[in-house]
Every structure is written in structure tokens, then in C-alpha cells.
């Protein structure tokens, strides 16, 4: 066994032992799926957009991943405050490997969360019209990596949970709303489409939608390249800031 694996395993064990965390984090995606698909579905259909659930489900799956991934950064602050971080920082393991292990752990949990939302969506009536499940998982995993690394980056800079929570609340909703998860980005005012274009989740949602339903705005190649590039940048940045943590 190696260090990255045991760090990954630790996070999974903690996740599966906290049932309330699993159930609690599914509430919001479920609410979005039910309320929005039944509420806006008929209007969307009348406006010629087609089946709204089919449009919405990939967005809500991405949302489930986004929330879990970003908030996994809180575990670093948690470990800082409750002392466990010191145990890993005096071990003969480089900070980069610690950061990679943690990020993979956080991202795996976010991916599991996304898969659970996908299953829930299926039971509500979401049907996969183009089944490229493998490609879908690739997109889900990239979204998970990006936002776990972003959570790590932010958590490395902060000392307390309240500060982290504040920044997260400030970030999560704009990232989600301007990603094309809820509405198509085609006919938006220029300012908003600029924001969406700079939002990495936009490409995650688009790619996921393309893989699951066969309809996407950008080419899947564009989506993949943007996501891979962003995750590389954030991993380097997060790794750097994590290595600067002093306790």
C-alpha cells in the first residue's frame, strides 16, 4: 500500500461511516430535480425546448458533484483544527503526494454522489438517449477533480470553518447558476455568456449532457480540453498552496 492510497482510503471510510452526510447531501439535488422538472417542464416543452428533465438531469448531477467536491475542502480545515493534519505533515511523504491523495479521495466521493443523483434521476424518469456512460463518468470525474482542487486551494489559505463556509456560499451558487445547468446558454445577453464561458462547470455540464443525451453546445473535444487544462492548473495551484500551510 502506498501513501496516496491510504489517504484516499481514509476519506472513503469517513464518508461511508457518516450516513447523515450521504443522505443530507442528496436532499438538494433531489429537490431541484423534482421541483424544477415538474414546475418548468411544461413551459420548457411549450417553448420548443423538448423534454426538460432530459435537459436538467445532467446539470443537477453536475451540481451534486460540485457541492460535494467544493465542500470537501472543509476536511483540510477540520484536520487543521483537530490536529490530524500534523500527523500527515511530519510523515516522510511529500506535500504534493498528500495533496494528490486527498484530492483523489474527495473527488471519488463527489463522483459517487454524482452517480447516486444519476440513479435518482433515472427513477424520476430520466432516460439516457445516447448511452455513453464511460464518457459521462470521465466528465463527472473531471468536474469532481476541478472543484475538489479548488476547495483544497481555498481551504489551504484559511484558518477557520466559518470563513470557508462564507466563501463557499458566495462561490457555489454563481458557479451553478451560470453553468447552463438550468437553462440553455444560447440566447443570453453578452455579459452573462462571458461569465458562463469563463466558468469551468459550463464545460462539465455541456460535456455530461452530450455524453448522456447526445445534445451539446460545444464539441466534446472542446469540453474535454478545457476541463483537463483547468484541472491541471488547479491541481498545481492547490498543491503549491497546500505545501505552504504552516501549523
Amino acid at each position: 500500500m502506498n501513501a496516496i492510497y491510504i489517504l484516499w482510503l481514509r476519506q472513503l471510510k469517513r464518508y461511508f461511516r457518516s450516513k447523515s452526510r450521504i443522505v443530507g447531501s442528496l436532499g438538494q439535488p433531489l429537490l431541484f430535480l423534482l421541483a424544477l422538472s415538474f414546475g418548468f417542464g411544461p413551459i420548457f416543452q411549450k417553448a420548443g425546448g423538448g423534454n426538460y428533465l432530459e435537459f436538467l438531469a445532467p446539470g443537477v448531477i453536475a451540481m451534486g458533484i460540485l457541492f460535494t467536491a467544493l465542500f470537501s475542502g472543509i476536511e483540510i480545515i477540520w484536520d487543521k483544527q483537530f490536529g490530524f493534519l500534523k500527523e500527515t505533515l511530519v510523515a516522510p511523504v511529500t506535500r504534493l503526494r498528500i495533496m494528490i491523495g486527498r484530492t483523489l479521495g474527495g473527488a471519488t466521493i463527489a463522483l459517487i454522489q454524482g452517480i447516486i443523483v444519476l440513479i435518482i434521476a433515472y427513477f424520476i424518469g430520466f432516460r439516457l438517449s445516447s448511452i455513453n456512460l464511460f464518457l459521462a463518468f470521465v466528465f463527472m470525474f473531471l468536474v469532481a477533480i476541478i472543484f475538489t482542487a479548488l476547495g483544497t486551494t481555498i481551504a489551504s489559505l484559511l484558518e477557520d470553518m466559518q470563513g470557508f463556509q462564507l466563501i463557499m456560499n458566495f462561490l457555489v451558487m454563481p458557479i451553478f447558476f451560470f453553468s447552463g445547468a438550468l437553462f440553455p446558454l444560447n440566447d443570453l445577453p453578452r455579459s452573462i455568456s462571458l461569465i458562463s464561458g469563463a466558468n469551468p462547470l459550463t464545460y462539465g455540464v455541456d460535456g455530461l449532457r452530450g455524453a448522456l443525451t447526445g445534445v451539446s453546445q460545444f464539441s466534446l473535444g472542446t469540453d474535454l480540453s478545457v476541463l483537463i487544462l483547468t484541472s491541471a492548473v488547479l491541481l498545481v495551484l492547490g498543491g503549491y498552496l497546500f505545501s505552504k500551510i504552516e501549523i
Binding site: R10, F82, F84, I247
Partner: protein, 270 residues
Amino acid sequence: MEEEKPIIKVVDLVRKFNEFEAVRGISFEVKHGDVFAFLGPNGAGKTTTIKMLTTLLKPTSGKILINGFDPLTQQDEVRKSFGIVFQDQSLDDELTAYENMEFHAVLYNIPAKLRKKRTEELLKFTELWERRNDLIRSFSGGMRRRLEIARGLLHHPKILFLDEPTLGLDPQTRNHIWEYIKNLNQKEKITVFFTTHYIDEAERSAKKVAIIDHGKIITRGTPDQIKEEAKAKSLEDAFIALTGKEIREEELGAGESMRYNQRLRRRRQA
């Protein structure tokens, strides 16, 4: 007898947090197999020194050798040379005792076979074997401390650092923990470097003592030598005679020192 090389060697060690000088040029040596007490009032520079000895903090200047290795250039060798029990607890509450040990063993790259054997041996030694599959959440303060000591020993370190190992424990548990530590020192020939505010514990357990105050070492020697120097009956009286009766502020951590420096800057601007 052959003169042994010291296992810890510190020369002119300095650590500044911007303007604030926490450690101001200290030098000392710890011999192989010693039980060494590092004493001082709050804010004297104890924790900052331990952090530098254990690679958690870089010195501003000066030289450190741990088991012959330099923490700046041979970080991993230094890290493998010591085990540490921190001042505040550092176990994962959501894992079991056994899992905490396993986590540590894998981080220190101990082969699987040896890992199992050593874990069992140490959990039995600290009388936690029966509770190995329980979550740490259910452990008492004394049990947590024992587990941290067991964990610190997993990778066969040469030195065990203990930063106030008996803080907040009742006299029975404290006694018990010191029994383990002395036992280890004798059986495994492990060097013990510890800090404490219970000066009577240092008097009973330490072979050598150094007292640090305001970032400088003010005296060192055997407990008897220090008592004699201060003309005191107990080490505690000697400690108070040497460091004064004034009450001190807590030592600054990285976060606090940042805030301290911000305050300094603001004051200067005003």
C-alpha cells in the same frame, strides 16, 4: 568508554516571526538514550523549537542535526528518525485505533508483514489491543495519549518527541504514561525529548534538563545540578527562581504571529 555522538545537536538556532523573535540563538545537545526535559514558561519558545526540530517550521538561522541528518536538506531521513506526540491530539476520531496505526504505518512505508506484528506488539504494550476495533471517538483522554505514543513508535524511531504528553490527565494516568515512557527508554534505548509544565514529572523522569525563557536557554544540566545552582529544594522551586513569578502569554503559533505582525504594522501606520 567511547564518546558518543549526540543524537540531537542544535547550534545558534534562531526563529523570527517578522519582528518577533521567538527563539533567540539557542544551542544544546541531547545524548543518545537520554530522557531530556525541555522546560520553560508559556511563550518561552518551546513549541517553536520542537516544530523546527521536527521539520514543521524552517529556522531563520542556525543549525540542527537530528540523528546526524539536517532537517533542511534531508527532511525524509529526519522524519523517519523521530516519532512525535503533539501537544493537542492528532488522531482521526472517525477511524478505529487499528486504522489509525495502519494509516501511520503506510505513510512511513513499513512493509505489510512487519506492520501487523509491530502494531499488535505496541497496542498490547499500551494495553489497547482489546479496543483496537473501536472508533477513537469513544476513547478517553488517557487512552488517546497511549495510542498516540504507540503510533509514534511504530516506525522504530530513534527519538520520541513528547510535547506536554500528560497535559489534562489525572495523576493516575500521568503516572501510568510515565511508566511506559521510562520502560521504552530502557527497553528500546529510545531517546526521549519532552516538554511539560508539571515540573515534578521532569524531576522524577528526566536525566537532563534545559530551561528556556524568552527564547534563550537560561540553564541546563541534571535536575540536581539545577537545584544546586538555584539553591532550591525542588526543581519546581528552582524553575520559579530562575524564570520569575510573572505570568506569561501563550506562545504564538503561525496564525497568531501573523495577526501579531498585522497589529504591529497597523500601530506603526497610526
